[in-house]
């Protein structure tokens, strides 16, 4: 190739721009967002959740989630107790997308539990992915590279919380991304934004001004299946021992 100095100098800024555009694919290149300054988590206050399903609908719309699959869902627990024996009934019709029919049974302990990816710090799903298509971003969000996923489903098996599914059209694993496209732009997640009772709150554990720190200090907060030591970052306030 015969490239004169003049042409080279003209092409140089274009190449630099192209390189910037490539770099823009990484979160670091997004303006005002630095991955090293965040460590994302979510807080769910079970006592505030009314099971309206807004979060499920918002998530499906925001992330184009196919019917019958869920990046987030709501479970309704109804627990009765006779002679010291607990009877646990759980339902989640359509993932709780359209809310729940009121229960007429008396004397039950009843509550709603919103569920989603726990964005575990030591996530079993990223551990087992054979090609590293599932990975944890430096800001603590577990993501999936859709162009790299083999669709082997090992991660679906490894997730203890049932948060993953295989998208019927892309044949790749999918799950909650914590609305990464939103939070890196300074927005909150779709589910948090629409929650009418603020039962869900996005939290940045690296931000010293985030109210999560005060909340964690003053409340009895629990994660799901703590014995599995996944480093789950979906913190529940008021979590009943019956919840799995």
């Amino acid at each position: 190739m015969n490239l004169s100095r003049r042409k080279f100098l003209i092409l140089l800024p274009a190449a630099a721009l192209a390189w910037e555009s490539i770099k823009a694919g990484t979160p670091e290149a997004a303006p005002n967002y630095n991955v090293s300054q965040h460590w994302w988590a979510m807080l769910v206050d079970i006592e505030k959740c009314i099971g309206c399903g807004s979060c499920v609908r918002a998530c499906q719309k925001e992330n184009d989630v196919p019917d019958g699959y869920y990046r987030t869902w709501i479970e309704r627990y109804r627990i009765s107790e006779v002679d010291g024996v607990e009877n646990i009934q759980v339902d989640s019709p359509d993932g709780g997308k359209n809310g729940f029919k009121p229960s007429n049974e008396q004397g039950l302990k009843e509550f709603f539990v919103p569920k989603m990816c726990n964005h575990c710090a030591d996530s079993p799903c990223t551990q087992v992915c054979p090609v590293g298509a599932t990975f944890a971003s430096p800001d603590g969000v577990v993501l999936i590279d859709q162009k790299y996923c083999l669709g082997c489903r090992y991660c679906v098996q490894a997730c203890p919380y049932g948060c993953r599914f295989i998208h019927p059209e892309t044949n790749t694993a999918q799950k909650c991304t914590l609305c990464y496209h939103r939070i890196t732009q300074g927005l909150t997640t779709a589910c948090c934004e629409v929650c009418p009772t603020a039962a869900r709150q996005l939290a940045d554990l690296k931000n010293p001004k985030d109210p999560i720190h005060e909340y964690l200090r003053t409340h009895s907060v629990q994660v799901l299946k703590p014995h599995l030591a996944t480093g789950a970052k979906l913190y529940y306030n008021g979590l009943d021992g019956a919840v799995r």
Binding site: G95, G151, Q157, C163
Partner: protein
């Protein structure tokens, strides 16, 4: 959509791993088992099993060539499977499959078969004509030296490869067990015993398969079955089966005694959805019955004809039992919710990509490959080869 009862997490209702993933450990198990049987003769100098030596190696190769196919057919993006070799994720148990597989295929099995057959290949390259001549010439890899010294060297190198091959065979199938056993999210799978149970069940299935194939092939070739050999193989099958059954029972008793939070769920499953495949097929028909049948042959002096029938029956039941065991592990492990509050069902399609027809083809494919391999590399002693060609020409 599968029917379910109780509560399943909404994404759990659909099973992720189908009957093809049942075949994967079954096929690799046969490979490992057949190889370990072959190595008995080579390394431990068990002369009695010599008639099965080459047949066992070819059986292992035939099944090993098919082993990755169910995985490939199962992937959502099979065209990306090479990424497992190019950019393996080191923390993933599954990522190592490609390397373990290639190591076993290329560094152990193919090499050992080539060294063992090298003299035959050279002689066939010189005596055959047409495309067979070309094929054998390629298989010689340009080495025509079959002097005593060269064959002695082949033999010594072959011995070393077999010695390396035994832990490799253990690795191959123990590793498959680890893929399941290391999933802490699933209590049905998560046990350190899983690789060991997989390994011994692999040995059981491989030994049974080679014993059956040897008897069937002998019948097809109308050559007498070497009963000293089959008796020895059956004895090894019996001993290995006892260890395998003991390990499986240890796992079961441990679960019952510990009765952790998953126990009620798993117990319910064994008594309902898995009753036929686990209690009837795996334990009673596929394990206890063949062990008792084999025990009878060890204790009583039976006639040759009766022993042959018992071995055939015990071998067939063993294979059914081990296939049922793989089914119960893979499918059984997905029938209950990780919430321990519900159960789903598995409906196998007939013509679907991961359906019954595909599974049957994948089960028959190794038999076809073995047939081709046997045609190219006859595993019989030389004095019998004349009989074979005679029989073949008579058949034509």
């Amino acid at each position: 959509m599968p029917t379910f009862e109780g509560f399943m997490y909404p994404n759990e209702i659909e099973l992720q791993w189908s009957v093809l993933i049942v075949l994967y450990p079954f096929l690799t198990g046969l490979v490992a088992g057949a190889f370990i049987l072959a190595s008995l003769e080579r390394v431990f100098r068990v002369e009695a099993v010599k008639p099965t030596y080459r047949l066992a190696l070819l059986t292992a190769l035939a099944f090993l060539l098919v082993a990755p196919l169910p995985l490939q057919l199962h992937l959502g993006h099979p065209e990306r499977s090479l990424e497992m070799y190019l950019t393996p994720h080191r923390s993933s148990a599954m990522a190592m499959f490609g390397f373990v597989y290639l190591w076993y295929l290329m560094a152990v099995l193919v090499l050992e078969i080539w060294l063992d057959y090298r003299r035959d290949i050279v002689m066939l390259a010189q005596s055959s004509t047409g495309w067979r001549r070309l094929l054998y010439r390629v298989l010689t890899l340009g080495s025509y030296n079959i002097s005593e010294a060269a064959l002695d060297l082949d033999n010594r190198v072959g011995w070393i490869i077999t010695v390396i091959g035994i832990p490799s065979a253990f690795l191959l199938h123990g590793y498959v067990g680890f893929i399941f056993g290391s999933i802490k999210a699933n209590p049905w799978w998560s046990t350190p015993l899983m690789p060991v149970v997989f390994l011994f069940s692999a040995m059981v299935s491989g030994i049974a398969a080679v014993m059956l194939i040897y008897m069937v092939v002998s019948r097809i070739r109308r050559t007498p079955i070497d009963m000293r050999c089959v008796d020895a193989v059956a004895k090894y099958l019996f001993y290995t089966f006892i260890i395998d059954f003991t390990l499986e029972m240890l796992d079961l008793i441990h679960r019952i005694y510990e009765s952790d939070e998953s126990f009620r769920s798993l117990d319910f499953m064994v008594h309902t959805r898995l009753f036929l495949s686990q209690v009837i097929l795996q334990i009673l028909l596929g394990t206890v019955t063949p062990i008792l049948l084999l025990a009878v042959t060890q204790v009583f002096k039976l006639s040759e004809a009766v022993r042959k029938r018992i071995y055939s029956l015990a071998g067939s039941l063993t294979l059914i039992g081990i296939l049922a065991m793989r089914w119960n592990v893979v499918i059984g492990g997905q029938l209950f919710s990780k919430s321990f509050l519900g159960y789903t069902t598995y409906k196998m399609g007939l013509w679907a990509r991961e359906g019954l027809a595909t599974a049957i083809v994948l089960m028959l494919l190794p038999i076809f490959i073995l047939w081709v391999l046997v045609k190219i590399l006859p595993p019989w002693p030389e004095k019998e080869k004349g009989l074979l060609s005679h029989a073949a020409s008579a058949g034509d």
